[in-house]
Symmetry: C2
Subunit: 382 residues, 2 copies
DNA sequence: ACGTTTCAGTGTTACGTATAACGTGACCCG
DNA sequence: CGGGTCACGTTATACGTAACACTGAAACGT
C-alpha cells in the first residue's frame, strides 16, 4: 500500500531522479543495505546545555538552574542572574525536556482520550484543551479511539512513564478500563460523577440542553415527538434520553417515541425514515442527538415529500459547522466544545499542582433557534 | 537514606534541625490545615526500573537493556534472556521514556503542523498520521495553528529538544518560518517541491482533481464557470486555480471567472451571491475550493431563487461529511486525507531511519459525482 | 568581640537508560 | 601447550537537569 500514486501520471512530474537534496555523503557505490549506525539525518545541531550557559555567564551550572527556574530570590545576586539570562538568550539555550523529566519524574504532558477526532466536536474539544495546555507549558497528546488507531500496542504501555495525567471523554469508556488502576490522575469529561473514580469532573449541562430543545418544540405545539437517539452507551446520551422523556411526559397529551441510530448522516437518514413511516400517527418533530443525525433526518423527510419545518420539525445537538451548511439551517443545542476541553485541562492542572480540584464544573449550553423548527401542521380533524 | 540521627559527626552541627528530612519546618503547634507541599494526588506508583528487573532475573541491568533492546544475539544466553523477559513481564516493567530519550538523544516523537484542526480535513490527516505513528512506536504531537492556539510561547522553543522531526502542511507556511533553519528533518505535505527545502514531500494530485472537476462541468456543457477560490496564499490553492484556468481555457468559448473567499460556509454564501449577481451573463457552474464553500454556494443559489443543479451546478473539494449532509449532495473531489497523513508519517520515519526518502509521492484523487451538478439550463437564444 | 543569621553561591548527586570497555572461562587450532 | 577466538556477562560511564548539602563571608544583634 505504499506505492499508491502510480495511477494518473498525467501530471507531467519531473521524472529526473536527480534530486539536489542535501543528504551529504550518501555512498553512491555501496548499496550497504541498511546502515546499522544512525545515518545522521540532520544532527548538525550543536546542543546548548545549561553547562554552556554557566560557562558563558561565569557561574556554576547549579546557579543557571536556579535562575532559569526562577528560584533564585536571595540565592543569586541580581547581577549574576541577569548575566545568566542574557547568556542563555544569546546562546539560544533550550532546556532538554527529557533530562528535566527524568530528574523531576514529571513530564508536563497530558493525554486526551476521545472516541474519534474526525468528529468536529472532539476536534474542538482538543483545540480548547491544547490552547490552555500551551499557555501553561504543558504538552497534550491524543489518543483518538481504539478503532480509529488500528491494532497498535496498548497505548498506555508507556503512559505511566510518559504522562502526568489523563483527560478522558466518557464516550471513550472502553479505553478507560485500560487506565483504571494505573494511578494516573484522571479528569473525566461528561461522566456520571457517581460511577467514575475521577480526580475531577467537567460536565456540559446536557440535561438542560435536552430540556430546552423539548420545551422549544412543545411550546411550538408539537405533541408527537420522536427522539433520534445515538446508539452509543454513554452517560451523556442516557442523560439526553431521560431529560427528553421527563420533559415530554410532563406535558399532558404529548408522546415521545425513540429510534436509535449510530452517529452519522446516513444512519440519521435511515432512522428518520423508519420513524416517519412507522404505523400510527406520524411524529411532527424529530429530536436528534447530534447534528449529523439531524441532517440525515432532514434528508429523509424531504425524500418522503415532507417539508422541513412546515411538515416536520428537526432539532440537533452540538452546533457543528454542518448546522448552518444544510438548508434549512438547524435549530440545535450549542455545546461550548472548546471551553469544555479547556476546562478539562485546567482541572487537570489543578489536580497535578496539588490544589484541591474546583467543584465539579457544569458548563452552560444554549439553544440556537434556526430554520428547522416551526409549529406543527394543522391537525386533520376526524 | 542516610541515618540522620546516628551521631554527631565531624560537622558537629547541633540538633537545630533534627528532622532534616521531609516537610521542613512543620510547626507542631499549627493545625497545618492545607499543606503547601505537593498534596500527593496519586503518586503511589512504585516505578519499576530495569534495575528491578535485573535483580529479579539475576542478571545485571546492562543485560536487561540488551535483552529488551533485542541486541543480545551472542551476548546473552537464551536462558537468561528468557528469564529477563519473564521478569519484565511479571513486574510490569515499562521503560522510562525520559531516560531513554536523554540517553539516546532521540525522542521518537514527531510534530504535525496543520493550519487548524477543527477542519475535518486536517483532523483526518492527523488520524492517518497517528495511526502509523502508533504502529511504529512513535508519538505524534500537534501544533494546530498560531491563531488557534492563542498567545502561547513559540511552540518550537522546546521543539529541538523534544522532537525528532516535523510534518507540516504547506497551508501552515507561516509557522514554518520558525522552523526553518532549526535543523529538524522536515516532511512537507502538499508543497511546491521547488520552493521548500524539505527532506521529503508528499503531495495530493490536486491539479488532477481540479482538472477532473473542470472536465466534468465542461463535458456537461457548461461554458461560464466561476471559481470560488480560497483566499489563502497556499501552494495547493494556487495549483487548483492554475489547473482550472488551463483546463477551461483549452475549451473554446469557455470562460472562468474567479471570486475569492475565506474557507467557510458563510464566506461561500457571500462569494457565490456576488458571483451570481455580477453584471453580465450569469455563470452556470461554481467550482469551489472546498466543500464548505460549496455548501455556502448552494445556499446562495437557492436564496436567489435558483435551483441546484438545474439552474446552477456546484462542485466542491475534499469530500467531507458535510458533502452528503447537504441537499443536493455535493459533487466533489475526494482527497485521501488519512492516507495523506499516513504517507507523511511514513516518509518522516524513513528520513529518520537514514533511509533515502522514497521519491516524492503523489497520492491520487478522485471525482465523486453526486447531485449538485447537471447540464446547464437551455440558453435563451436572443 | 562573639555567636547567629542571611546572602551568595559551588560541589555533588541521582534520576533510568544504553552502550563502550572490560573481563572471564571454555574451546579450538596450529 | 600457548595464544586466539568465542560465548557470556559485568562495570563503568554519560546523557542534562534540579535540588540537597555545604561553605565562606558579611551583616547583625547584644
Amino acid at each position: 500500500m505504499t506505492e499508491q500514486g502510480a495511477a494518473a501520471d498525467d501530471t507531467g512530474t519531473p521524472d529526473t531522479a536527480t534530486r539536489g537534496t542535501a543528504t551529504p555523503g550518501t555512498g553512491t557505490h555501496a548499496p550497504a543495505g541498511t546502515d546499522r549506525a544512525t545515518h545522521q539525518a540532520a544532527a548538525d545541531a550543536p546542543r546548548v546545555t545549561s553547562k554552556d550557559v554557566a560557562r558563558a555567564a561565569g557561574v556554576s551550572q547549579a546557579a543557571v538552574s536556579l535562575v532559569l527556574g526562577d528560584k533564585w530570590r536571595g540565592r543569586v545576586s541580581t547581577a549574576k542572574a541577569d548575566a545568566v539570562r542574557t547568556a542563555a538568550r544569546e546562546l539560544g539555550y533550550r532546556p532538554n525536556l527529557a533530562a528535566r523529566s527524568l530528574r523531576l519524574g514529571r513530564t508536563r504532558t497530558a493525554l486526551l482520550v476521545v472516541p474519534a477526532l474526525t468528529t468536529e466536536f472532539f476536534a474542538r474539544v482538543y483545540t480548547g484543551a491544547a490552547r490552555i495546555a500551551a499557555d501553561t507549558g504543558f504538552g497534550l497528546v491524543l489518543y483518538p479511539s481504539p478503532e480509529g488507531i488500528g491494532p497498535a500496542r496498548d497505548p498506555f504501555d508507556s503512559a505511566r512513564a510518559t504522562l502526568d495525567g489523563v483527560i478522558a471523554s466518557s464516550m471513550a469508556a472502553d479505553a478507560l478500563t485500560a487506565l483504571y488502576g494505573e494511578g494516573l490522575p484522571l479528569v473525566m469529561l461528561d461522566s456520571d460523577p457517581h460511577s467514575t473514580p475521577a480526580a475531577a469532573t467537567v460536565n456540559l449541562d446536557i440535561a438542560h440542553g435536552a430540556r430546552l430543545a423539548a420545551h422549544h418544540l412543545l411550546d411550538l405545539g408539537h405533541r408527537r415527538l420522536t427522539h433520534l437517539a445515538a446508539a452509543v452507551d454513554s452517560w451523556t446520551f442516557h442523560l439526553r434520553a431521560r431529560a427528553l422523556a421527563d420533559t415530554v411526559a410532563a406535558v399532558s397529551g404529548a408522546t415521545l417515541a425513540v429510534q436509535a441510530a449510530p452517529l452519522s448522516v446516513d444512519a440519521g437518514l435511515h432512522a428518520a425514515h423508519a420513524a416517519l413511516t412507522a404505523p400510527g400517527p406520524r411524529p411532527t418533530a424529530l429530536v436528534c442527538d447530534d447534528d449529523l443525525l439531524a441532517a440525515g433526518a432532514c434528508k429523509a423527510a424531504r425524500r418522503l415529500g415532507l417539508r422541513v419545518p412546515e411538515d416536520v420539525s428537526v432539532t440537533g445537538f452540538d452546533d457543528l459547522a454542518l448546522a448552518t451548511a444544510v438548508e434549512p439551517e438547524l435549530t440545535t443545542v450549542r455545546l461550548p466544545a472548546e471551553e469544555f476541553g479547556a476546562a478539562g485541562m485546567r482541572a487537570l492542572i489543578d489536580v497535578l499542582a496539588g490544589r484541591p480540584p474546583a467543584a465539579p464544573t457544569t458548563l452552560p449550553v444554549e439553544l440556537v433557534t434556526r430554520g428547522s423548527t416551526a409549529p406543527p401542521p394543522a391537525e386533520p380533524r376526524p
